[in-house]
Symmetry: C2
Subunit: 338 residues, 2 copies
DNA sequence: GAGAGGATTGGGAGCGCTCCCAGAATCTGG
DNA sequence: CCAGATTCTGGGAGCGCTCCCAATCCTCTC
């Protein structure tokens, strides 16, 4: 079943059928309807290979998720939720999404090679930060349109990305504690090889300085983005006098909570605690966690929309988008909520 | 850059280059090496559209995940882990995976329409059960190869699927409690519109009967696959005299645990509890949960391998695979482990 | 009522690949 | 050394689509 078949049945030419399918002008409405009716009847869809061959477009974008396992482990909801946003945006423009999941037993370079060799995609969404600049270099050199969902380490001014306002979020969380009258506010920072983690600390510093306080380096403790990382970092922080803590993730906050409880420190009375992410976990703790909620679906949606706009030629050059976050106040900072 | 360009540079014909790329016989090893070298140098990959057009194969499979949100909510690790297995199997045969995520605001029929209209896939992996038989009817009628990762409600003898041995798992869990000397073992069953949930209850019944006990319908309580569902079901069960419970998921088991603790019932002393799934949650409870571990990656891997084998013509007709599960013994059934 | 100009339609060319067949080169055994 | 088989190579045809250009059909104006 091809254009010619439809054309024959409709008593028109191949070209006219093509025009109808692609919604082009210069087809009389009578002809258009007649053709549409037949297409509907026989359930025809044009052969994508043939179309690709001539248009050089595939109507497919790639979604790349490297180092998947660790990403999933930090926040299992993140990745499916992000994909939900991606799928929504892709659907709107009638694009399909080709999924590339990195596995731990494949070399990262080989993984990227595989993706770049596949010519079935009009553009790429890189759904994770990578410390490996080579993929970006390839994509930039080959002029393949792409968007990342993190601010990249390298070439960040040449690259389009959609991320959350980590600096603002770090500032908001810290300001919240300051406004509650906390005098010595520390932070459990994530590993600083991570752009998000870096930015959250920057926000923390900004808030302190804006409040006219000086930043005590002893109150900034790095840790792995894990429960254990938070636990250990809190242990370290407890060597200082302290009455407020901003953690770089809810998972870490939960670990911190455990350390506080073991030390007999009351939350929020003695130390107020703010997490980050608003995982389902955040309402399962005792006390429930005040935290920063980030719009994960939006992140996927906006990043994909941006990519598709670039592919459609509607957007020129690299563009960076920062999505706002939201402070969700719960018991761990001592404010009553239902 | 196309075959002809490579051919010119290598001083051979288009056909020969094609033979080399497709690893066909009847090319002298000298010629083959010469061509491979040039392909390597210029980094050539054949145009997939052109290839599709003539071979009528795409080297792409579709992965369909309907009703995503609820699936994710039950077990957030399930879906990413499954995809990991899918990606691994696809990679082995050099297939790409097109991801179709259902969203709650799209009608299920429209969702399937969209997928079926896309002719970019050689076959489909349906990564979730659906109560809607129409997609299966379409696929069977159109002879599109597909595999599901659940035993479907309808046409299950005509459909290839890879699932876990739910009956065996239900039996194993129940036997475990019986072997521990528990006299009145109940079960918190999932909603029975779910094949997995049904089978787990069947296994439960089988184990009781095999032990020469009669099945008391009051000891089988249905509930939603959620914490709250488990909590409510446990409340109901507690009206009976009982000393062992098999829950259809860890999430439900956690809810059950809460109900037990509120009622002042000791676990495992008074009631021993077995969950299902071995979520990370299972080691975060107090006591830790004895549970059934299912091989999620394997499920995705095997299902995809089966689909690809069908596409390669290596497997004929529908085939059903049951993967074994594993009982993981922890504190909630009173056995000491580290 | 003829001509201008726009709306509509049809068909050739060609995208880059695989398949097929014919021809050239090489290798056998007698 | 030659017929016949075998290995190797080249090029035409065609997959189904879009793009382009030319041809035809209207409609309106003077």
């Amino acid at each position: 079943m091809n254009l010619e078949d439809i054309a024959r049945r409709a008593g028109v030419s191949r070209s006219t059928v093509s025009r109808v399918i692609n919604n082009e002008p210069y087809v009389s409405s009578r002809t258009r309807e007649k053709v549409l009716k037949i297409i509907q009847e026989v359930g025809f869809t044009p052969n994508p290979g043939a179309r690709m061959l001539v248009t050089q477009r595939t109507q497919v974008i790639g979604v790349v998720i490297p180092r998947n396992l660790s990403v999933v482990f930090e926040d299992p909801y993140y990745f499916p939720t992000l994909l939900q946003g991606v799928a929504g945006a892709a659907q709107e423009r009638d694009y399909a999404t080709l999924l590339w999941l990195g596995s731990s037993d494949e070399d990262e370079d080989r993984f990227y090679q595989r993706i770049l060799k596949n010519r079935l995609m009009d553009g790429l969404l890189i759904a994770s930060a990578t410390t490996n600049p080579s993929i970006f270099e390839h994509l930039l050199a080959q002029q393949i349109p792409f968007v990342t969902t993190e601010r990249p380490f390298f070439y960040s001014d040449q690259i389009s990305y959609v991320t959350i306002d980590n600096i603002g979020a770090g500032r908001t969380a810290t300001e919240h504690l300051i406004n509650l009258g906390r005098k010595r506010v520390g932070t459990i920072a994530g590993q600083q090889d991570n752009v998000d983690a870096q930015d959250r600390v920057i926000g923390y510093r900004e808030a302190l300085r804006a409040a006219g306080r000086e930043v005590d380096p002893d109150l900034i403790v790095e840790g792995y983005f894990s429960r254990r990382g938070g636990y250990l970092a809190m242990k370290t922080l407890l060597r200082q006098e302290i009455d407020g803590v901003v953690a770089a993730s809810d998972t870490m906050a939960v670990g911190a909570l455990q350390a506080l409880q073991e030390a007999g420190v009351r939350v929020p009375e003695d130390v107020a605690l703010v997490g980050f992410d608003d995982l389902p976990l955040a309402i399962m703790t005792e006390p429930t966690l005040t935290t920063i909620r980030q719009p994960i679906t939006q992140r996927g949606y906006q990043a994909t929309s941006l990519l598709l706009a670039m592919l459609a030629g509607e957007v020129e050059g690299p563009r960076q988008v920062l999505l706002p976050t939201q402070l969700v106040i719960r018991q761990s900072t001592g404010v009553l909520t239902l």
